[in-house]
């Protein structure tokens, strides 16, 4: 919801387009929502066409061999309206987002690149604030921005500013994060209250005012992950539930690890004001974007230890074990609901659309 991916492809000379044109002759916003249509677009059109061993891991980044060491390489583009929002801004987001993607590969982020696509007319003062925010964010994460590019497009051809960052990090030998390695019995930990970023953005866009301002949770997760690895080497999967939210990540892991997932609604931390906003806006917090949260799959023996370490870190104070990996219903996420019944938590098709009544 917070991001949309733009892109154009020319199929005129290539093989037939794998996405049935009859259904979608043009890219719609639903293709950028982080749900099934996004996956279909990425997997059947892009990943399948570029096919190579590094890409097929479908991690948050690629893991590349280099002189006996392993490198992680990741990229992300940031398009968000408004560019300054409660709790953060596009500059910080573009640094933390890529640092987090590298962190979720088990890597220590080292270097970033950045590209700006700036719409004519953007106040210079705003650009300066964005650049300053990026510098401060990079310092906080211990990364350097070492190369970049700037383009300006006509007024009306961009949404103030689009930022792309790419990053490189090194993976320590004892960190083996792999989205296919969730094991039956693993506990699933979420690092804090979910859905804050998406609701912060929606509230601004819709002009909703609550008793308190809901702020984005935008934050770098590298310190929290370091604290987790200090107490356990049995962290199997890490993922930051950004676009598409917690539900999409759990579905992706259930599918890639070929296992079932069971979670309990009452264990999922959601702040009171965010719950209220979700009720008003007609959203399910499980599908709302986060920018400073992670989901970890940890062996049952180490789960309490990891949880305790997370509780000691400012970004993990409200961490909670929300469920576990099971052998039943592979590929499907089942949730025990608040009334003690159960239901499937599916992946959304496109964007979560507000309901009529």
């Amino acid at each position: 919801m917070s991001e949309k991916k733009n892109g154009t492809f020319d199929f005129s000379n290539g093989p037939a387009c794998p996405i049935p044109i009859a259904n979608y002759p043009a890219v719609t916003m639903a293709h950028g929502g982080g749900g099934k249509l996004t996956h279909q677009l990425i997997q059947s059109m892009i990943a399948a066409h570029f096919d190579n061993p590094a890409l097929t891991q479908l991690h948050d980044g690629a893991i590349l061999p280099s002189n006996g060491e392993k490198l992680a390489f990741s990229t992300d583009s940031y398009v968000i309206n408004p560019v300054f929002f409660p709790g953060s801004n596009i500059g910080e987001l573009s640094v933390y987002g890529t640092v987090n993607d590298l962190t979720m590969c088990g890597a220590k982020a080292k270097y970033l690149s950045t590209s700006f696509i700036i719409e004519e007319g953007l106040p210079m003062e705003e650009l300066w604030r964005i650049v300053q925010a990026m510098k401060a964010a990079a310092d906080r994460c211990g990364v350097q921005i070492v190369t970049g590019d700037t383009k300006v497009v006509d007024r009306g051809k961009g949404d103030k500013i689009f930022i792309n960052t790419a990053g490189i990090g090194t993976i320590e030998a004892d960190r083996n994060i792999d989205p296919t390695k969730a094991d039956v019995g693993d506990k699933i930990i979420v690092s804090g209250e979910i859905a804050q970023h998406g609701i912060a953005i929606m509230s601004v866009r819709q002009g909703l005012e609550f008793e308190t301002t809901i702020e984005s949770d935008c934050a770098p997760l590298n310190g929290l992950v370091d604290a987790m690895f200090e107490v356990s080497k049995n962290i199997h999967v890490l993922r930051d539930p950004t676009r598409g939210g917690v539900a999409s990540v759990l579905n992706e892991i259930a599918e890639s690890s070929k296992c079932g997932i069971r979670i309990a609604e009452e264990k999922i931390p959601v702040a009171e004001d965010v719950r209220g906003a979700c009720e008003i806006l007609g959203f399910d917090p499980l599908y709302v974007a986060n920018e400073g949260k992670l989901i970890a799959f940890v062996s049952a023996d180490d789960a309490e230890k990891v949880l305790a370490a997370m509780h000691q870190h400012p970004l993990g104070e409200k961490a909670s074990i929300i469920g576990e990996v099971v052998a039943d219903h592979p590929g499907v996420v089942v949730m025990k609901t608040s009334i003690g019944s159960s239901r499937v938590v599916d992946m959304l098709s496109g964007e979560q659309l507000p309901r009529i009544c």
């Binding site: 043009a26 009334i339 003690g340 019944s341 239901r343 499937v344 659309l353 309901r355 009529i356």
Partner: protein, 363 residues
């Protein structure tokens, strides 16, 4: 969260579940009218807590689902016109028309915007005097007051570039149409709490009387619905057929009179076609003669629209409670949330989408 958590509590849900089990001796079929109730039933797994003798069928109360294809096609045609800003509630954007949906219009350069309130659309019109701003006014009695108010506001503020494409529908005539069809299996209704918040429940007494059927005005939280089911089953087991109000924290017998007044000022009752069901006499709201200048159907000439429904879709039977979504041969195959054939697969309130998303494990 106060006033919400109480109605989602496991203990309260279990208590009603046990009470329902204790009184149920025969097989009963109940229909919840409103799509919001269907959504809660499937999302929270209420059927798991009911005795197997009780069958819930899902009613026609999903505004996205019953809006006729011809109106959707008109919306798409208007939204595609230059100089138009087309505004709508979010989930109407993905409803399939004969050949495409409103999201595709947006992707092709149409100015289609999601609004949360029709009054926002009036403001957009005021801010864009060179454009024609259309609001897609769909829904039941629940959304009618706000939509009527938008027209009243446009008149008051002298906003002349605002219009609505109206396809409002009314619940009681649809209930009568179902009951008088002769094929209905429904033995009790959970009436739609929010509709009754506006309209009250006076209108249901003659229906309960004429068709010997219990009608329980019911809310939307899981415990509301379990209590509504309990009240309906209790009536059936005791041989009663009355109108009862489970949702008294929101609904009064007379309803919201100022809201009814604004509806009556702007709209009059008209015949209406329901997607999948057909025309039901006096079952909709249309703009009164004196407000026709706000009627998008009058303002825009979209030519002859020829409508093409998929032959696979059985949404009409589903919305009348004659069949359940997984009994459709296209369910989850040709028709799925990515490529909906019928409207009930689109909205999260639609019975088919609700079954698809939440019910995978027990087909």
């Amino acid at each position: 969260m106060r006033y919400v958590d109480e109605y989602r509590s496991e203990a309260a849900a279990r208590a009603f579940s046990e009470k329902i089990h204790a009184i149920t001796t025969k097989e009963w079929t109940l229909m919840e009218i409103c799509g919001g109730q269907t959504h809660t039933i499937v999302k929270t797994g209420i059927e798991e807590l009911l005795p197997s003798k009780i069958t819930l069928v899902h009613g026609p109360g999903c505004p996205v689902c019953v809006t006729p294809l011809a109106i959707i096609d008109k919306a798409i045609a208007i939204a595609s016109m230059p100089g138009v800003i087309f505004t709508s509630f979010g989930d109407m954007l993905r409803v399939p028309g004969s050949s495409k949906d409103l999201l595709s219009v947006k992707a092709n350069g149409g100015d289609v915007r999601i609004v949360y309130s029709p009054l926002d659309a009036v403001m957009i019109a005021k801010q864009n005097p060179e454009k024609k701003v259309v609001f897609f006014a769909v829904g039941f009695e629940t959304t009618a007051p706000a939509n009527a108010m938008a027209v009243a506001q446009a008149e008051k503020m002298n906003v002349t570039n605002f219009s609505i494409l109206s396809s409002h529908v009314l619940v009681p005539p649809a209930m009568e149409a179902l009951l008088s069809s002769g094929v209905s299996k429904v033995q009790g209704f959970l009436a739609a709490g929010h509709v009754c918040t506006i309209m009250g429940y006076e209108e249901y007494f003659p229906i309960a009387e004429k068709y010997n059927i219990p009608i329980v005005v019911t809310g939307f939280e899981p415990v509301d619905i379990l209590q509504g089911i309990y009240m309906a089953v209790k009536q059936l087991e005791e041989g009663r057929h009355e109108v009862e109000n489970q949702y008294s924290r929101s609904v009064s017998r007379a309803g919201n009179v100022p809201a009814q007044t604004v509806i009556n000022k702007i709209f009059s009752v008209v015949d209406r076609t329901w997607r999948g069901i057909g025309e039901i006499p006096m079952s909709g709201l249309g703009l009164r003669e004196e407000y026709r200048k706000y009627d998008a159907e009058t303002i825009f000439d979209v030519g002859n629209i020829s409508v093409k429904e998929s032959p696979l879709c059985i949404s009409g039977e589903i919305m009348q409670g004659l069949k359940r979504p997984h009994e459709c041969t296209a369910f989850g195959k040709e028709c799925n949330p990515e490529h909906p054939i019928g409207a009930p697969m689109v909205s999260s309130e639609g019975a088919c989408a609700a079954y698809f998303h939440y019910g995978k494990l027990k087909k």
